[in-house]
């Protein structure tokens, strides 16, 4: 036994050492690459590449144009032939392609070796172009950033664009100044040039608002139509007018629908034909799903340039004319190209000369994209590539280093933290390093992580009393979440805003959670041993039941119900007009670009402190005893059921407060199926923090929510930077979240039962 273990240990250490050596080599190579970047010869090589790339870009456009000309000539020739009709499509294509390829080869041979007589002139022209482009590009980026900030704050803050427009009464200046009340920086004189753009934006937003309202109304009308008409086949013989009348008779509230007559008639006819074929009629309910409203995406189509930017743009124009002149001297045929081709060449040239940055790798990549490396001989090209890849090599080296440490200290780490926590923590460290290397803004990231910590913190805290009192992971905390959502909807129903509304939501949510949690705990007390299964499905069922509940409850504030049917709550409720971000922005301050949501974090800390104090109290200690060893607790005179009831009720009530805090930080309250997975998220966070299904501490909550959200935020950014297309971060979330719960389940010690 010990022999085998020793063998295993040596194998592991040898693997670790090999990995360390590999990592060291990689890191050294990358340092060498970074070091090379500074050297003169490399800089010269880079310039050589640039010249070659520029020439290639210019001649490439010409070659493309010649090839496509040859292709269309060939096609014309074929068309003229008598037997054209007998030729297959494939044959025609292949003949034309062959012609184009031949012309391309010929043109390439002709132009790619164009002799440069005035090398210094070309070099100067390129330098001037680069300079002008970088001035222009830098300025443009700055102005666009200003625009983007303004855009985001307007889009997020303006409550009703239509109102704004009607108040201004076609007076652009007035509209602009009223917009400035929602985004203060707009009134700064330097931003005066943006007026036209933002006025247009206001108009387009108002139109969009109108369109969204219309679409909603139309959907409701369709739904009520389907609800009211029992047999569509009866309507099949009617013409448009008669059908419209019949619908008006059957459906209440159709008189408001005159504007949608054509759309509704079309729908009705679809239903009639479906009914005749015997298909089921289902209203496509637009699934709003989980609205991802974290970030407003800036639409730049309303951007207007300032005078300074226009001047810079003219600078670019003249520099380009100079460059174009030089190129024309080298390749005279360029002048004969048509306008469209010239424009394409210009775009390529601009992207080659200045690709958005002056750092080594972006320059190298831009030149390499235009075959710039052809200008260099073997070893020089290799060294260039090496220093361009230095960053990626460094990241790989660090990853290997972490992996090696994992092997080296496997026993110590897993014994202390457990396998998944070790892996997740190392993964987090790796993500942090990678974030630095990928130029991801660290302050923004930190602000994001802090907000999300505050957002999910209380929900994760709700897991704690459940674990302590012995019911394990309380997946049924969604019951509490629904009570909290009811609290929010109540506050909206009575138009409560500000601190008053937030407080009311929390308190009423918690009060509603009390009886629900009590009944739920009575159920769980009879189900000892299989609480997690039961609580998961009770939670799911309750969410599904409340979906019907949200439809049926007698709320009647027009702001929160479906307008036309006159009953049923909407899916997503914006809290922007009431108390969104109230806690986040309370005493919030900015340090080194990091926005600290003081109120949110303070609230979380106070709740954690209260929880800690509670767990030190007599009841709290008794509760933990029940959780960790029910037999022993019972023997020492503690009422197990009572403690479990207290814990479950507490967990449910905290969850109710948690969802209110979550929604105010999110800015939206989501009903219906949205809360279903919250239990899983909270459970995985507290488990990542180090809790087990028997024991949990406040530190587990804080550490867990930090690590979980940190990995998610960083992972999302890095996945987006590294791999094109989203989805990877979502996959990561699913696997981490469920993987850690699975691990916790295996730790409950089933295997001992045999």
């Amino acid at each position: 036994m010990t022999q085998a273990r020793k063998k295993k240990l040596t194998a592991r250490i040898i693997t670790a050492i090999v990995l360390y050596v590999l990592a060291a080599i990689l890191i050294l190579v990358s340092v060498f690459g970074f070091f090379l970047r500074g050297s003169d010869s490399i800089q010269n090589n880079l310039n050589t590449m640039r010249t070659h790339a520029v020439l290639h870009a210019a001649s490439g456009g010409l070659v493309d144009s010649i090839a496509s000309q040859a292709r269309s000539d060939k096609l014309k020739e074929l068309r003229a032939r008598k037997d054209f009709r007998t030729l297959g499509l494939d044959e025609v294509n292949s003949t034309c392609d062959a012609a184009a390829a031949a012309a391309r080869a010929e043109a390439e041979a002709l132009y790619s070796n164009a002799t440069v007589q005035n090398a210094a002139g070309l070099e100067n022209a390129i330098n001037a172009m680069e300079k002008a482009m970088s001035v222009y590009g830098g300025l443009r980026e700055k102005e666009r950033a200003v625009y983007s900030d303004l855009y985001v704050s307007l889009v997020e803050n303006v409550p009703d664009w239509t109102d704004l427009l009607s108040a201004a009464q076609e007076d652009d200046a007035k509209l602009f100044s009223s917009l400035a009340t929602w985004a203060e920086d707009l009134s700064v004189p330097a931003n005066a040039h943006l007026q036209d753009g933002f006025v247009k934006l206001a108009h387009s937003m108002a139109e969009k608002e109108q369109a969204a309202d219309d679409a909603e109304l139309l959907q409701q009308l369709t739904a009520s139509m389907v609800g009211a008409v029992s047999d569509w086949t009866e309507l099949s013989e009617l013409d448009d007018e008669a059908l419209w009348e019949a619908l008006n008779r059957e459906v209440e509230g159709f008189s408001a629908a005159e504007a949608f007559k054509t759309d509704l008639l079309k729908k009705a006819k679809e239903y009639i034909s479906a009914a005749e074929k015997g298909e089921t009629i289902a209203v496509e309910t637009k699934d709003e799903g989980a609205a991802t409203v974290y970030d407003t995406v800036t639409d730049y189509s309303f951007f207007t340039a300032s005078d300074a930017l226009n001047a810079a743009s003219e600078g670019v124009e003249s520099a380009y004319q100079q460059l174009w002149g030089e190129l024309n001297e080298i390749i005279p045929d360029l002048a004969n190209l048509d306008k469209k081709m010239q424009k394409t060449i210009r775009t390529t040239l601009e992207n080659t000369v200045w690709s958005g940055g002056i750092d080594y790798s972006s320059r190298y990549n831009a030149y390499a994209a235009q075959e710039g490396s052809e200008a260099l001989s073997g070893s020089a090209a290799f060294l260039m590539q090496l220093s361009a890849l230095a960053r990626n090599i460094l990241i790989a080296g660090i990853a290997l280093c972490l992996l090696a440490s994992l092997f080296m200290f496997w026993d110590t780490l897993t014994k202390r933290f457990g396998i998944p926590r070790t892996i997740i923590t190392l993964f987090f460290i790796y993500l942090c390093l990678a974030a630095v290397l990928y130029d991801i803004s660290v302050p923004m990231m930190l602000s994001n992580v802090m907000i999300r910590m505050g957002m999910y913190g209380i929900l994760v805290l709700a897991m704690m009393p459940g674990i302590q009192c012995g019911i394990g992971l309380n997946m049924g905390m969604t019951i509490g979440c629904i009570a909290g959502l009811l609290g929010i909807v109540l506050s909206l129903q009575f138009n409560m805003t500000g601190w008053y509304g937030l407080l009311f939501s929390c308190v009423s949510g918690a009060i509603l959670a009390l009886p629900l949690g009590w009944a739920y705990s009575k159920l769980l007390n009879r189900m000892k041993g299989s609480e997690m299964t039961i609580s998961t499905y009770v939670g799911f069922s309750f969410v599904a039941l409340m979906c019907i509940g949200w439809m049926m409850l007698p709320f009647n504030n027009p702001k929160i119900i479906w307008l036309l049917s006159g009953h049923g709550l909407r899916v997503t409720h914006s809290l922007l007009g009431s108390y969104a971000h109230l806690l986040d922005e309370f005493l919030a301050f900015e340090v080194l670009g990091v926005t600290v949501p003081t109120g949110l974090l303070l609230f979380l800390l106070v709740c954690c402190l209260l929880m800690w104090l509670f767990s030190r109290s007599r009841t709290g200690i008794a509760m933990s005893a029940v959780g960790s060893n029910p037999r022993f607790a019972e023997a020492s005179g503690i009422s197990v059921n009572k403690m479990r009831t207290i814990g479950t009720v507490l967990s449910t009530m905290i969850a109710a407060v948690g969802i209110v805090i979550y929604s105010q930080a999110f800015g939206y309250a989501q009903l219906y199926t949205a809360p279903r997975q919250l239990g899983f998220i909270a459970a995985s966070a507290i488990l990542i923090g180090g809790a087990t299904v028997r024991k949990a501490k406040v530190s587990h909550v804080i550490f867990g929510v930090f690590l979980f959200e940190g990995v998610l935020v960083l992972g999302q950014q890095i996945a987006n930077a590294a791999v094109a297309g989203g989805g990877l971060s979502e996959v990561m979330r699913i696997m981490i979240s469920n993987g850690i719960i699975l691990y916790a389940l295996t730790q409950t010690g089933g295997a001992s039962r045999e």
Partner: protein, 427 residues
């Protein structure tokens, strides 16, 4: 007295089923749907879903609860289907190829699932549910980033210019997998019903001549057969199926039904083998089974492997018959476990007992509610969305109630001194 208590016991243990029968009848009436439509939809859905539901039986008998990880079997089947489409194999050959690919994949996955569930005894239901969620992450990873980049696929299924498999794949047209099994042989329902009635009668007579049936049982068989044939003579019923009066003629996809029948037979026969005895022994008491020299862990792994492979094949049967022949690449497997689990529980199965009949009855009842819920709710509440939510509530609620009832009984048994495994494990 004894008989009376028997009846009460029967009603007690099938309370959920009777409740659902009542609910189904009520819904069919309230929905005001054409019976012909309901019947055709029901047959279609029975044919489509029964296979997967039947795949749940063996793990239940082996004491592993409802195996929600059958979603992983469905994922294996979807990988098989994807490769089949990509390679351009059509028709029955395509289905057979997909099944052949599914077999080793699902067996491997089943082996891993079994190993993992052995480490969480007593928590298999929730464990398999979460395992299904976890596997969904891996599945998305595979389909989004690995297929098409590391594993070459034809551009029929990939997205040009991006990584990953298309969102929806078409099974109709030149792909030729839609209704590839269902379409082989379609026979009018009444003929199938007569054949079934005949088979029941012949079966009764054979068993009687072999002396394994009493006269009473024989009579029962004969009367049943006569009833089926008789009911079909009533014009209203006959019209319901024959498509008179402009309605649809209801036809039965015989090959699929035969497959389902084979699976029922397999489930029955395997219980008579040594392996089946082991399943049962392990399901009743692991401690006793262990003492009797049965390798408990190995038996459980085998049960899950069989279930996963069957679920995979069930998913192929489902996909070739489903809807209008589109394959939702990223979502087709998501509700498999939920609907199958709910269906078998509705049929009166519990966490530790299940039979073929319960699975079939459950599928029938669950889907009759499914078909009618929307129209019924829109007639009752004037809102069709309620029906949609009601369906979801039914699925989750049924599982929750079954779990609660089971746990409740277990707790009672424990109090009255019986052996309750969940408690033994806790301490």
């Amino acid at each position: 007295m004894n008989k009376q208590s028997k009846v009460i016991n029967h009603i007690k243990s099938y309370a959920v089923t009777y409740l659902f029968i009542a609910l189904s009848v009520f819904f069919i009436i309230v929905s005001r749907l054409d019976l012909n439509y309901v019947a055709s939809q029901l047959l279609l859905r029975l044919n489509r879903n029964a296979f997967i539901v039947l795949a749940l039986i063996i793990p239940i008998v082996a004491g592993m609860g409802i195996n929600f990880a059958i979603t992983i079997g469905a994922m294996a089947a979807q990988i098989g289907l994807l490769l089949t489409i990509s390679w351009g194999v059509t028709g029955v050959q395509g289905i057979l190829l997909a099944g052949a690919i599914t077999l080793p994949l699902a067996a491997l996955f089943g082996f891993l699932i079994g190993k993992l569930l052995n480490r969480m005894k007593g928590q298999e239901t929730i464990g398999s549910l979460i395992l299904g969620y976890f596997a969904n992450g891996a599945y998305q990873l595979l389909f989004l980033f690995i297929f098409g980049t590391f594993i070459p696929l034809s551009d029929k299924v990939t997205i040009v210019g991006a990584s990953g498999v298309q969102n929806t794949l078409n099974l109709t047209g030149s792909v030729g997998l839609y209704k590839a099994l269902d379409g082989i042989l379609l026979v009018p329902f009444s003929i199938v019903a007569y054949v079934i009635a005949g088979l029941i009668a012949v079966y009764g007579i054979i068993q009687y001549t072999r002396k394994s049936f009493t006269a009473q049982k024989l009579a029962f068989c004969l009367v049943g057969a006569a009833l089926i044939a008789g009911i079909l003579q009533i014009p209203a019923v006959a019209n319901l199926f024959s498509g008179a009066g402009g309605r649809q003629m209801i036809r039965v996809p015989v090959v699929t039904w035969l497959l389902i029948g084979c699976l029922c037979l397999f489930n029955m026969l395997i219980m008579r083998t040594r392996l089946g005895q082991k399943f049962r022994a392990v399901g009743q008491s692991q401690t006793v089974a262990n003492a009797a020299g049965i390798n408990v862990d190995r038996t459980r792994v085998i049960a899950i492997m069989i279930s996963t492979v069957l679920a995979g094949w069930g998913q192929i049967v489902f996909m070739q018959s489903d809807g209008i022949g589109t394959f939702q690449t990223y979502a087709a497997h998501e509700q498999v476990g939920l609907y199958a689990g709910a269906a078998i529980l509705v049929g009166g199965a519990s966490i530790d007992r299940a039979t073929n009949l319960q699975a079939l009855v459950g599928t029938f009842l669950f889907h009759s509610l499914f078909i009618t819920a929307q129209s019924a709710a829109s007639n009752l509440f004037g809102d069709s969305a309620v029906g949609e939510y009601f369906r979801a509530f039914l699925s989750y609620g049924v599982i929750a109630i079954a779990l609660v009832i089971y746990a409740w009984r277990g707790a009672k048994k424990h109090k009255s001194g019986g052996v309750d495994l969940t408690k033994v494990e806790k301490n």
